[in-house]
Subunit: 137 residues, 3 copies
């Protein structure tokens, strides 16, 4: 079994950002030499997500609005007693998921026509990591 592990670093300009990382993941897979396998892409900080959906600005705007409704900012989160102010960002990560497994077939990401891998930052403006781990043969 071959494996390759890389870390992508982010330090976003804004508190919330949605960043298409498909090409970065594809490059790591290419470099790994794995022909048949999977690549795990997982946000290592607990206020960020990794998901697979459309690279379409309108949809991204809809996602942001939807999350604001389902996991709203709220000064009364009990988590804030620790001094943090990011309770909503933790809930957003739980709702959106924090990782995906992308299949690799014949050396390439085996994804649907519109599937793109996104990093979603919900508590940005600080250095955060995503692990990209390729496994296969």
């Amino acid at each position: 079994m071959k494996s390759k592990t890389e870390y992508l670093w982010f330090n976003t300009d804004h508190e919330h950002e949605y960043i298409n990382i498909t090409e970065k993941v594809a490059t790591i897979v290419r470099e790994s030499g794995v022909q048949e396998g999977i690549v795990l892409v997982s946000a290592m900080h607990i206020t960020a997500s990794v998901y697979v959906n459309d690279a379409e600005d309108g949809l991204i705007s809809d996602i942001e609005e939807w999350l604001t409704k389902l996991a709203p900012p709220n000064p009364n989160y009990k988590h804030h007693r620790t001094g943090e102010t990011n309770g909503d960002a933790h809930l957003r990560r739980l709702l959106m998921g924090h990782q995906v497994m992308v299949p690799i077939t014949k050396g390439k990401l085996d994804v649907g026509p519109w599937e793109q891998v996104y990093y979603a930052e919900f508590d940005g403006q600080r250095r955060k990591r995503v692990i990209v781990k390729v496994l296969g043969e």
Copy 2:
């Protein structure tokens, strides 16, 4: 490491459908000859989900009603400026998740007594795919 990749095709009669694909996944695993490993089952279109839960019609009806409340149809999604009308279907996929990893032990799906693998279609009546990728030994 052994691997086997198959694609399941769907073209549902209805816009929304919940289809039990457990037997199809189990068959592919059996054919792969993998004894210890995992099988990734992942919806390749961005308005469909794969999840694991109960094969019980009442529950499926509850899920549909719940999703209609949390990710309602709405003409005002910004995604619709592209000409699409399926903004809610994208959000449903994000809420329900688009993939599962089913463990394989001694050549069989190692699932709990009520765990069944479902394909959930939120924007049907068109040809769509699910990848089933078996990895192991």
Copy 3:
């Protein structure tokens, strides 16, 4: 490829509980001898979740309150016509996800500084299992 499969059993005192299982997973990984790979941690009962987030009591309390709002107890779930009373617990598992893949690098769980693996019970006081399956080399 090496593999190791273990099952964690739970029988919680309360209907709802959030249990940090990070150390149990780390021990199984250590015993497996896998240096590079992944460990799948998956709830085998359909009213429980496995997720990765902060070991902070305030946050756990926020998650419980949030789930009660988004997937409330309700006598009218159609699933209850089977005699069950746990419709909300099924929906909570779908919202929170039922499994995670934790990367293993140099023989250790390769997680972020605050990432902890949790078992979330939404319909407890009965014996339930989580599968922990290590794969790698």
